[in-house]
Symmetry: C2
Subunit: 318 residues, 2 copies
């Protein structure tokens, strides 16, 4: 099933079920007020939400309304955990993933502006995929973690590249990771069919910048650590509680990886600049400017959008 | 006022008001079910909670019960944000604080066991103080942040010192920071009287290890960045939402800082080992062992415990 959180002025929004074709939706408040509430008691809530989903897809839901991504908050606008792994790293053979804890007190909706104060910070988009987990005990194995993935979604893990070197020297990124944005809907893994296998999403993640396609790497290719492995890494010294979000990104395929005639391109500007530096001695692609737009979307094998699109504009802070 | 969260089998527990002397408490469920709910609407909730607090202190609350710290969860067992700053660093003159985002999906109660798998990880306690903030906008100044501190509490920011070097090399600590524990109660800044000034808590933080006092540094001394400054640092590129916890620790005073005849000692073993290495070429104090206990408490100027004690045992994971 597909779930979204609708803006209602509250901090956590209202849970809605969204039709498979993303055209209609139905409030789920009779079942669970928020997605966190559903995740807190998933075994009890999920079947009820799924029954509504079946009705909605059949056109038989009583109070269906047109689904509008602009009315969406992040599926989990306020989460209890958000960690992203640099799971795609062509050429690196590290045996442990490099993961970063991000702020989760306010995840942005798919059409919310990216509001920042300075272009000089090196504003970069970062297209990735994220899994929302159920409770996981300390020492959970990747196999155990696999069975506890409840939902998948897309993320725009915005980074401020020019602030990073100083922060890394002080022990970890913080200011250089402003608010992360999420796709309109989060979907249960079964929605992906065969594209969900081996703990990876085997579909291409399309990124456009100011309307120009810049990347379409396959999220299932060159992923050194899958979602269960990333979660198990977090569980080495503590458990994870329901609603914890574990991401992987920016997605990247090795140069030369092609599916048919399609080059992978890039899911973050920093990767493109690294390639330019490597080839030409210096980067030539600038970072984002105020007014720039980014669109991140993933189609299934039939060309249908799975999660809806993240479509944002960079705006100067007032 | 003083607030606690009582274990009831749920993820967020039940909010209670605790008497100033920490002897009695009263459920606050008629006002707000959880501390997060109170923080979400503080202007409306706080006066009601305060009225109950006044009643309780006067012995006039109808259903008061004996307060038992062992029945406490962390004041905010599931928070939306937890960041700790290395605000005490004798000798360092950096102009930006070094801060680390910690896991906040499950903060431990004051008497919960510290369950870990291996002593070889270098199990260290870390006594600190933390502030719970109301909403703060992006670009909030320290002055603005100062007025948005709603509660203060103690934390035991446990660290696994032997896992840190590898993690820092990969970009930031994660596995080396297991669950953080919190004091039985969180208190509004006014509870501290004159000891709360300049955005710092001017009281000594007492740490005992296996019953032996090892440290009593003053949390208001040698604090290079106060709580408002730490929060403002986080607000450079994004806002902070109500319930975000910002800590400072481990508390440390410069060697030679004494109040009367009392040496500051240490609030984490790593600081002691650093001193030993500096003096003798190698550390002599080992890290914690399974079965070890740690107690962290802060008395006011009259010798009364402000927050109650964190009193934990290190236990081997089953």
């Amino acid at each position: 099933m597909k779930l979204a959180t609708i803006k209602d002025g509250s901090r956590d929004g209202q849970l809605a079920v969204v039709a498979r074709d993303l055209k209609t939706a139905h409030m789920a408040d009779a079942i669970a007020p928020t997605l966190q509430a559903a995740l807190d008691d998933w075994a009890f809530m999920a079947p009820q939400l799924d029954a509504l989903y079946v009705q909605l897809n059949a056109g038989a839901a009583r109070r269906a309304f047109d689904f509008d991504p602009a009315q969406c908050m992040a599926p989990l606008p306020r989460a209890c955990g958000w960690t992203i792994g640099a799971a795609y790293f062509p050429g690196d053979a590290s045996s442990e993933p490099s993961m970063t804890r991000g702020a989760c007190d306010e995840l942005l909706g798919p059409c919310d502006d990216i509001v920042l104060a300075h272009e000089e910070w090196g504003i970069d988009f970062g297209a990735g995929v994220a899994a929302i987990f159920d409770d996981l005990p300390m020492k959970a194995t990747p196999d155990e973690a696999h069975g506890r993935i409840r939902l998948l979604m897309l993320v725009n893990d915005v980074a401020l590249r020019q602030l990073m070197p100083d922060e890394l020297a002080r022990g970890g990124v913080l200011q250089s990771k402003p608010a992360t944005s999420c796709s309109p809907v989060a979907v249960t893994p079964d929605e992906l069919g065969d594209a969900w296998r081996g703990g990876k999403v085997h579909l291409r993640l399309a990124t456009s910048w100011n309307g120009n396609p810049v990347g379409q790497p396959d999220a299932g290719v060159d992923m050194a650590f899958n979602f269960p492995q990333l979660a198990a890494h977090l569980c080495k010294t503590r458990g994870l509680r329901a609603g914890s979000i574990v991401g992987a990104g920016p997605v990247a395929n090795r140069i030369g990886t092609k599916r048919g005639a399609v080059a992978p391109g890039y899911a973050c500007i920093a990767d493109q600049r690294r390639g330019e530096t490597s080839a030409d001695g210096a980067p030539s692609t600038p970072y984002m400017r105020f007014g720039d737009t980014v669109r991140i979307e993933m189609d299934d094998e039939k060309g249908k959008s799975v999660f809806g699109a993240i479509a944002q504009k960079v705006v100067r802070a007032g």
